[in-house]
Amino acid sequence: MPLGENIQLALASLRAGKMRALLTMLGIIIGIGAVITIVTIGDSMAASIRAEMASFGARNVTVEVRQKDEPGYFDSADAEVLGGDGGDGETFEYREPAESDLITPQMLAEYRRVFAGQLAAAAARDELGSVSVQNGRHKAGATLVGCNADQAKVAGLALQAGRFITDGDGEDGRAVAAVSDLFIQQYFGGRLTADETLGESFSAEVEGRTLHLYIVGVYRYQPPDGAAPQPHDGTTNTEVYLPIHTGKKLLQRPVGYRSLTLQSQNQADSRLFLQRTQTFFMSYYTRNPYFTAKASSMESMMNSMDKMTQNVKLGISAIAAISLLVGGIGVMNIMMVSVTERTREIGVRMALGARGRTILWQFIVEAVIICLIGGMIGAAVGIGLGSAGATMMGYPARPSLAAMAVAVVFSMAIGIFFGYYPAKKAARMDPIDALRYE
């Protein structure tokens, strides 16, 4: 008997008992719906976080001076971060790195020489302190960041006016700064355009010392995606970039870098780049008793995050699978009832010449259709709930087509698996007994 006939037959039988069919499907709907909801939320979240990280430069390698016994926040989760022997957290004691512990400008120069031809950018960046700068009744929040010229590249800063910090600024110890458009908006109360602020100066007080800085450039402020701007004394704190040497000299801080952000030209081989960078910097710290250099990349963090979300999805899907199992047993139960109720019909069909396997397929198709409709409703519900959930959590919804396809195929498999036994029971009936069944 052709499949089309069986499908029509099954649909007719389901139409005759809509309420029963719906209740039978409920288990499948809930099971598939739950899986798709979780997968949709998970995928949306992961995709959004991934995109955000990528915008920060996922392939940038960060080298940091870290205490050797510092409990690492990367290496416990994932072995992607190379080198460094994570100590145990209980004996950890914070230690201020001395000048001899920091990455020196000579190390950076040597690194640039060794990695010449494959290095796209090597940015030094050190936060010098958060301040509030006053201009009459106007004020602006600022995080003073000492950096070199490459910082603009790795941070993806878009200049609106003037120029960014140059390496020459640092060598000459010039007191210049690149500020955000939001900063000048707040500091000058909107009176000056970006171009007009070039050459203007402002003073910031850090640790009792006053930095007098001239504005040489204005960049466009990009609020962190999804996060609200952080208010600081009623203002938004934005980064003010100044030459790292100037800043350290003025604040009488030890010269050197606590961290570097390195960008490879060949983005494809980021893992090797990470490894070689790690090896390069670690060699300077083999005899340092307290400090070491650790290289890490956003990509390695993203990978470990992906692994984590994958595990969460898997775990919750396993629980949802139990619901599917229960749903499947429900389908089997209702098919058993249906077979018993239709014993007489089965007898008649056999008398008219239906073979055992024709009857078998009739009931399997019916079970599969119940599960398939349930699965499709479940997938639709899951996409809806998942998208709503993701949107509510602030991530753009990303319904997964693959998950839907898997759900539909899986629900069909449930139909075949749980429909087989009742169908077999029907197919094995003796036509004489079946015809006589009351």
Binding site: R15, R344, M350, A351
Partner: protein, 241 residues
């Protein structure tokens, strides 16, 4: 006897049917039945309930197999065949008409008549046309889109007769076909059988406990206690030669 025919349509030789064989409650229902039915015959099989006529019908209808003896249908032994082969024989050679109609519920008259042709693998167009023609023949053409629960008893039985003819079977096997009908509709159903016999030379086996009904048939076989006790022919005007 039918001149020119190579042999009987149905030939039962010493058919014995025993239930629960080898067990304590062993029960022999048929004790060696010999019966020949020739093409074009209209035979009434009469017997009280418990006489074994239903078991006999099951064997003739290839729903059951004899414990011993032979059953030749159109000269072919159907005793030792598989379940699938039995299904195919029923589908092609037997047309069942039941006392309680046994139409498939929630399925139109048209689809009910098509069903044996579906199982025979006949294509959609062809079987739809044949089903319509058969329904027209039994006077049910205007009701072909009705489901069984929208039909009266007599109408249901007409649809069932149309269905039994779907694959142009060798035998119509009718088990108390008027048992659930009032006398008027019974008459019209019997008239259809007579017409099929007279005009289309269908071979019909009518199983009944009613002597009156049996007396209409050209040949009456009486079953009692699992044996054929009488086999009378020519009781009617158009009796077989």
């Amino acid at each position: 006897m039918a001149p020119g025919m190579s042999g009987p349509l149905i030939q039962l030789r010493d058919v014995v049917k025993t239930y629960n064989r080898g067990r304590e409650n062993e029960l022999e229902i048929l004790h060696g039945i010999d019966l020949q039915v020739w093409p074009g015959e209209f035979v009434a099989v009469v017997g009280e309930s418990g006489s074994g006529k239903t078991t006999l019908m099951n064997i003739i209808g290839v729903l059951d197999t004899p414990t011993s003896g032979n059953y030749l249908l159109e000269g072919t032994d159907v005793q030792a065949t598989s379940r699938d082969e039995m299904s195919a024989v029923r589908n092609q050679k037997i047309g069942f008409v039941f006392q309680n109609f046994n139409l498939i519920g929630r399925t139109t008259a048209q689809k009910n008549v098509e069903l044996p042709m579906v199982y025979a693998g006949i294509d959609k167009k062809q079987r739809a046309a044949r089903a319509r023609a058969l329904l027209q023949m039994v006077g049910m053409d205007d009701r072909r889109d009705h489901e069984p629960n929208a039909l009266s008893g007599g109408q249901k039985q007409r649809v069932a007769i149309a269905r039994s003819l779907a694959n142009d079977p060798a035998i119509l096997l009718c088990d108390e076909p008027t048992g659930a009908l009032d006398s008027k509709t019974s008459r019209s159903v019997m008239d259809i059988f007579h017409a099929l016999h007279r005009e289309q030379h269908k071979t019909i086996l009518l199983i009944t406990h009613s002597r009156t009904l049996a007396s209409e048939c050209p040949r009456v076989v009486t079953v009692k206690d699992g044996q054929i006790v009488s086999d009378k022919r020519g009781g009617h005007g158009y009796a077989f030669g």
